[in-house]
Structure formats: C-alpha cells, structure tokens
C-alpha cells in the first residue's frame, strides 16, 4: 500500500475518474496529476465538471467508475484516511454565522480530533495567520466577505492537511479581499508545504496564483500546463481569456443551470 510519503511527487492522482448523473456524464474518464506542493488550478465553464470532480476527490461523492489517490490514500477504499489529510473550503459559505470565529474553529478542532492540549495553541496560530485574532470573539455574521473566507481557510488548515481543496475561493470578493486570500494561500504553501487545488472562473486568478492549470471541457481534461506555456501555445499575444475560450469550448456557449446560478448568486450575496 502507498502511504503518504510513498506517493512521492503527486498529491492527487486520478485515473479514469468518472461520474454520471443519469444520462449526463459530469466527469468523464479524467486523469489528473497534481504535483506535491503546487497551487493547481482547475478551470472550465459552468457545468464543465469542476465541482463534481472536487466532490469526488474530497470523498463527498462516490465515483461511478475509475479511482483516485489523494494524499496517498484511495478515495474509495480509505475515505476516512483521505478526509484526515485534506482541508476543504466549499464554494458556499460554510462558516456558521451564528457562532463566533473562535467557536467555528473549536468545532473544527474537535471534529478533526486535535488533542485538547493543542487546540487553543493551534486556534490562536490559525487566527493570527489569517489576520483574524482581533475578531475571534465576534459573530461571523458581522464579518466581511474576505474575513469569512479567511476564517474558512483557517478552519480548513487547523489540522495541518497535506492538501487543500478550494471551490471558487474568491467568488464574490472585492479585489482587496481577493488579493488577501491569494496571499494567505501562497503563505500556506510556503510555510506548510501544502498542495492547493482550486477551481476558478477567474483568469486573472488562474494566472497570478496557479503554477499549473487543467482546463475541463464537458467533463474531460482539455489541456494541462503552466499558464505561460498555455498562452505561448496559442501565439505570442494570446491572453488567458484566449486560452480559456480555445480549450473550454468557446466563451459564447453558456453552461450551468438555474440552480448553479442561484447558488453562485447566493454566495456572492452573502459575501457582499
């Protein structure tokens, strides 16, 4: 059996990973390798399969066929081990507004089985790291959108996961808050060696933050590469928008359904 260290250079290895919903194949035989310690971006139009892929990798959704190894553990056979090694920030706002920042973190600490003696130290560290120490005793519903996202990052990092999954981490945030989330992610990678896998629609985010990108189209991986390589592949003056339009099936065809739109707007509204 592969243990964490033995999986070597890749934090995430998906092979032929597939998920069908009735007639729809949301994720279609995806092979994906996410190198250890990188910030890896998953791009694609609405409905391209990004969220479904993330849900499978985080063990929230069982695959129809294929498999993946996350942090050296099989997502189907050892979901509990996988869960212990990952952190996840859903696209939706998952922090509880009726609790304080500190209470949210304490809940995570307990659910992740942090020993009692370590809890307050870790929580204090996480709050400092995310710049939330002064607001720890305030109810989360009084936080700004950027603060909520940073709190969720703190929650996801509390147990020092090897891999962090973020579904559209900066959706609905203003530019300042967005940059501050990027900075925290870069710091996490540098200070803790965390591998970060994000989904995004935002080409600026893809280029500024990610070392490597995979563009999904209709449930399949259309292309994988470094942002600069992908641009260069389309000609000297190509932008990331061109890259996206080229591989994600054109910028005009709109994907996603009503419930996606509702969800995205609801998230944006709560952040705003």
């Amino acid at each position: 059996m592969n243990k964490t260290a033995a999986s070597g250079t890749f934090s995430v290895k998906a092979s032929e990973l597939t998920r069908r919903f009735g007639d729809l194949t949301a994720v279609d035989h995806v092979d994906l390798r996410v190198p250890y310690g990188e910030i890896f971006g998953l791009l694609g139009a609405n409905g391209a399969g990004k969220s479904t892929l993330i849900k499978m990798l985080t063990t929230l959704l069982p695959p129809t066929s294929g498999n993946a190894e996350v942090g050296g553990f099989d997502i189907i056979r050892s979901p509990a081990q996988v869960r212990g090694r990952i952190g996840y920030v859903p696209q939706l706002l998952s922090a509880d507004g009726a609790l304080t920042g500190h209470e949210n973190l304490l809940l995570s600490a307990k659910l992740y089985g942090l020993p009692r003696a370590q809890r307050s130290v870790r929580i204090g560290e996480a709050l400092d790291f995310m710049g939330l120490a002064d607001s720890a005793k305030k109810l989360v519903k009084t936080y700004s959108g950027g603060m909520v996202r940073r709190l969720e990052l703190a929650q996801a990092m509390l147990h020092r996961p090897a891999i962090l999954f973020l579904d559209e981490p900066t959706i609905g945030l203003d530019p300042m808050a967005r940059h501050s989330v990027w900075d925290r992610l870069r710091d996490l990678r540098r200070d803790y060696g965390v591998t970060v896998l994000i989904t995004t629609h935002d080409m600026e985010e893809a280029e500024a933050l990610c070392h490597e990108l995979a563009i999904l189209h209709a449930g399949q991986v259309a292309v994988v590469g470094k942002p600069a390589e992908l641009r260069a592949g389309l000609g000297a003056s190509a932008t990331m928008d061109d890259v996206f339009a080229h591989y994600a099936g054109g910028g005009i065809r709109e994907g996603g359904n009503f419930s996606d739109a509702v969800q995205t707007r609801r998230t944006a509204q709560r952040l705003g």
Binding site: K55, T58, T59, L60, L61, A80, R83, G84, I86, Y88, P90, Q91, L92, L93, S94, D96, A98, L99, E103, L106, L107, S108, K110, L111, Y112, G113, Q155, R266
Partner: protein, 256 residues
Amino acid sequence: MDRFLRESTAVAEVELIKLLRDPTEIFSRAVQPVLWLVVFGQVLAHVHGIYTGEVGYLAFITPGILAQSVLFSAIFYGIAVIWERDLGVVHKLLVSPARRISLVFGKAVSAGFRGLVQAAVIYLIAIVMHISIRHEPQAIFGVLAGVLLGSGLFSTFSLIIACIVKTRERFMGIGQLLTMPMFFASNAIYPLDLMPGWLRVVAQLNPLTYLVDALRGLMIVGGESVHDYGTDFAVLVAVFVVLLMVAVKLYPTLAE
C-alpha cells in the same frame, strides 16, 4: 466510544450555544402548548365530552401536549439541516474525518435541548393551572428521559425526510402532512379505547403513542401507562436506533 462522544458533543454543543444566544425560538414554541392547554383543554374539560377515568381531562392531555410539542419542535429539524446544506455547513461536516454516526447523533442530542425546554414550559403551565403533577425526582427524571428520546427520534426522522426531499419547499409540505396525522392518530388528546378499531391499529404503530403513554404515567398524579414503561421505552429506543442507522446512510447524500 471516546471519539464518538467527543464528536457528537462537539456538534450538539454548537447547537446549544446557538439556541441560548437566540432564544426567540423557545418563546415562539411555547405559544402552541399554552393554546392547547388553556383554551382547548379547558373547554373540553368543562363539557366532560371525553371520558378519561379518574384523571381529569386537562391532566389527561397535559403529557399529550408535551409529546406534541416534542414532536412539532423536532419534526421541523430537517428544515435546519436543509438550510445547512444550502450554506455548505453539511459539506464541511462531511469532509471532516468525524464519523457519520457522531454527526447524526449529535444533531439528535441537540434536538433534545429544545425538547427539554418544552418540558419546562409545560411543567410551568401545569403548575399555574393547578394540574396535579408528580414531583418525585425519579418521575421527573423519567419524563425528561422520555422527552430526550422522543426529540432524538422525531428529529432523526425529520433528518431522513430532509435527506430524501432535499429542498425546503418540499419539506414544508411533507412536514405539515406528517405532523397532524401523527398527532391525531395517537393517544395524545383522547384514550385509545375511544378510537374506532382501524385508528387504534394506526395509533399502536405510531411511536408518539408510546411516548405519550410513558409520559402520562410519569407526569401526572393518577396517570396510567397502558403499556408498561418497559414496553414504551423499548419501542422508543428500538425505533430511534433503526432511524439512526437509516440516517447514517442517507446523511452523506446531502453533500452530493
């Protein structure tokens, strides 16, 4: 076991904090039992329309109304779960290594807090209305145990419905559809003997009947448990365990 306790306590504790921080729900939930006892109960007691033996009608329905408030406050628990799903809280819980049974059981325990508040409210109304209630500690303890068990049972049932219907709109419809029949097809406000045969059969299959039966014996002076306490509690525990097992299977589908 240690881990199970830690995880479920963590989930339940959070709910308790939230309940104490915003107790409006506690007050709004107290209105309905007051109406049933002060208005409905007093009128029906006055006309002596329903024969309840030695025990007066008002005393007879007091445990029934407690069971009803337990049912009503627990059955809409699924709404909160669907709300948590829409927010992403469910996803965050399920991606943690906490065992599913801890998460589901923790939710059931937190419904128990609301049930205990209901019990306090009903005891208070009973005292104000001079209904003779039993004061022995073991009787009160038994009532509280029944209330906890009933809250856990009905909230887990509600969680299962939430996992199946997944949207608030559908849940509201089904919640309404279930609560009233469960209440009327039970011994809460009239004895089983007065029911037509078919309804008595339905009532015997209704867990609420066993909760009411146990509470009736334990709560009021001269009250009688038709089944015995052992049967009542055994049925409630068995149903609760089965529902927990179903909920553990279904809860993860909320994040899919």
